[in-house]
Symmetry: C2
Subunit: 482 residues, 2 copies
């Protein structure tokens, strides 16, 4: 284990974190909010500490990173950035308790969007901007992770995704991966900019439009309003966010192809088709229920259904309505939606559509295999057969995900949450969505969760964000042997 | 498709059903209950109809049964037996509605034990005996199914079980399978007899001891008392039933080996070890909670924990206490237990320990595979490596099981059950356990479920009992082609 290269990269990440922390000061100055000292002190000290670590380890600069070091960098990186990122909130006093500040920052960097804040609008502007910025940084990290690290590690069938991305091989970090990362980041920035402009056009001010764009494109979900997107009472804003949530839950490589004129790449991709038609079916079903059973107007019924469903499926977590109030069974329907997630290669969390699709196809094909036992019937993804060992990897991932969901829910129930809230909170944090159900639902927040529960959920957010194994591997004894 | 051979076997099953129906009359006579005409008429007409069908198709007698015919015989057999089995209840008027009578009989034959009866003790003795007898017949069917049919079909990894049973090959029905079936039925009868004697010794009358033995050994769960086993207020009876529930949830082949002196065969079998230690851990954990947190006496706390946990895990469903009242989080804990099931080759239902064990090992081994990507790391069962395509089959089964659980729960919630009861009812019916949670929980019954819901649950019981694919395959269009 080469500790130096790990520290070198973490130093660099802290440098970036500190720099981004300072950006909020622009809004603090403009709005005259009292968080300038907190942001300035924590931003500068993060930069200085990062710089010291980075410089002190610079001879490691050209070292090749092994897989084991890769796991450590990713997990430690997310934790250390959350520790430093929590400082401004504590220093200012807006979130005085360490547990709460860490929860909020981890929720930001993992693009979860679960919040302990009971009065968001009383927060100073600079801190609110930093809070939304943690989403945006987290989203950038996820893009890099999913093209550069996960395919090499081959976690949970990410080899399949690999085949589709130029420059990514499962053997080692190809030089072209840097190029690919820059391209995808370019798309990330373009999406953020476009959405911000449209939200400005919809009547948001610059501050809100930037914060909500960060929250959307990173599929995070922190809002600057207590009532989340409901505060704007604007169908236009809701439609803009609906569209960008769908786009942000799409494999960014497909956007890249589309930008280069290949628009049909979307519907050539099996995962996108599955993702898209799944959304259409669920949104239309729920909209029909709202229109016919709850006597809602067609447009607003459709919009509420689309916003809520897409917010959950893309793992964003913005809210416009309390969907649990539509009818009792919507608690269960949304609990199930919390277990999906959007596309691989996007900023979304959760099990993700590719894995659901493969497992679902495999379960159905088993029928054919039983009828024709002699035939070789394999699951196909984009016309290529998926080997059995990849199916086994994907099922290992999905089952482990469900085991963690079940065990986490049981733990939260022991800590005193009622069954629905416990399951909702764990599903929402593990899937990096944000709001769960009941006492942690869309019209509530995580403030009342006992402090041990907040640490458990912080860990669960990290687990979910880093595709379970990246974190668990570090906790396994055989990782530290040899 | 050779319809004649299908009818021939179903005719024979009806003959048996009619004969067993008549046995209840002995108790009707002894107790002077008013159900003799109902049982006599339905028993005799079932025998006559069975005889006619059987005789009319006797030239098919020596036809070899194809796999496709096998699927149809099993599924149609269970449905037709439930239709005929429901007749005495309706004819007598004890369960006047067809929906309820069919639900109760399907619940019996699938060894589920979910009941719509609100006052069991007001039922005439002959009908109650027939009700418990449906469990016992169902259990016999399951034993035959799991040695003769499922391994040949290779559903959900049942090939693994195959390797352990003499005379069972995955290619075709070996002549020795008849011998094996007789041996295992012998054990089934011995277990039933032993338990009945012990229950008699514990103070039950002959009628109750037989009915409860049928319910235990078939892992069914119908009781003759409104309060189930709690009615007897006898720790001895509870311990007897605890032991026989564990034995009935064990692979019967292991009992066969033990009867021939190989007692160590239990702890040589990976599935039994997993099953046994899982029970020990859960029972002890809950007992400790009851003793320390609920201030229960050591013996009764342990006994209540053991009875409830083993009743659920073995998929029996007898009740002595309302475990949901211990603490709010026990609803969730027992919901999770409802998704387990006991051993393959037993009369229990659900996903079963073998599949849980394989999936769990596979998820954990993935950590090792990620650390040592070059090494070939396979899941082992009884020292043999499990090939990836069997893992893929097992995961297809487990995922399909969970999809049906989720979809069924959503459907029950739409029909008006609250989230906990909906999930509990579907988990309990799919796993052939019986009592679920809340309004379908251990101190309640299925009477209040809307009638559509009762049909849905009847279908779910059948699905679970026949390992999903046996039923689903018949609904797939490609089954009927060619």
């Amino acid at each position: 284990m080469n500790i130096k290269i790990i520290l070198h990269i973490i130093g660099f990440l802290l440098l970036l974190t500190g720099f981004f922390m300072l950006t909020g000061i622009l809004f603090s100055i403009y709005y005259g909010s009292n968080d300038i000292p907190a942001l300035l002190i924590s931003g500068l000290s993060t930069i200085i500490i990062g710089l010291i670590i980075w410089r002190a380890t610079k001879e490691a600069r050209y070292t090749e990173i092994s897989k084991r070091e890769g796991y450590l960098i990713v997990t430690a990186g997310w934790i250390i950035m959350s520790l430093f990122g929590a400082v401004p909130f504590m220093l200012h006093g807006a979130i005085p308790k360490f547990t709460n500040a860490f929860f909020e920052t981890m929720s930001g960097f993992t693009t979860t969007g679960a919040s302990i804040l009971t009065d968001i609008e009383s927060m100073p502007y600079g801190l609110l901007f930093w809070r939304s910025m943690t989403h945006w940084i987290g989203g950038m990290g996820i893009i890099l992770l999913s093209i550069a690290i996960l395919p090499i590690l081959g976690i949970g069938g990410m080899q399949l995704y690999t085949a589709e991305v130029p420059g990514v091989t499962k053997d080692k970090l190809h030089p072209r991966v840097q190029e690919t990362a820059k391209r995808l980041w370019g798309i990330y920035v373009i999406l953020t900019g476009l959405e911000a402009i449209l939200l400005l056009a919809g009547g948001m001010n610059l501050f809100d439009s930037l914060c909500h764009s960060f929250g959307t494109v990173a599929t995070g979900g922190f809002s600057t309003k207590n009532a989340s997107i409901a505060a704007y009472q604007s169908p236009f804003i809701e439609y803009v966010i609906i569209v960008f949530m769908i786009l942000s839950g799409t494999n960014f490589t497909l956007h890249y192809h589309a930008l280069h004129g290949k628009f049909n790449s979307y519907f050539k991709d099996d995962e996108f088709k599955f993702y898209f038609f799944f959304i259409v079916i669920v949104v239309v079903s729920i909209a029909l229920y709202l229109i016919f059973s709850n006597s809602r107007a067609v447009e607003s019924g459709f919009r509420d259904s689309a916003f809520s469903v897409i917010s959950i499926l893309s793992s964003t977590g913005f809210a416009t309505v309390n969907y649990e109030a539509w009818a009792p069974f919507f608690s269960l329907a949304f609990l199930l939606l919390l277990l999906f997630g959007a596309s691989t290669g996007s900023t979304s969390g959760g099990i993700k559509m590719l894995r659901h699709m493969v497992m679902f196809k495999n379960s159905l094909l088993e029928l054919k295999r039983l009828i024709h036992p002699q035939a070789v019937i394999t699951v196909k993804y984009n016309d290529k057969s998926i080997p059995h060992d990849v199916i086994s990897k994907i099922s290992a991932f999905v089952l482990l995900y469900l085991i963690i969901f079940a065990a986490g829910s049981a733990l939260m129930a022991v800590l005193g949450l009622e069954i629905k809230s416990a399951m909702g909170a764990v599903a929402a944090c593990l899937g990096n969505i944000g709001p769960g159900l009941g006492s942690t639902g869309p019209v509530s927040n995580y403030n009342e969760v006992p402090w041990i529960g907040k640490w458990v959920l912080s860990f669960i957010m990290l687990l979910g964000r880093l595709e379970l194994y990246t974190v668990l591997i570090i906790l396994s004894p055989s990782f530290w042997k040899s």
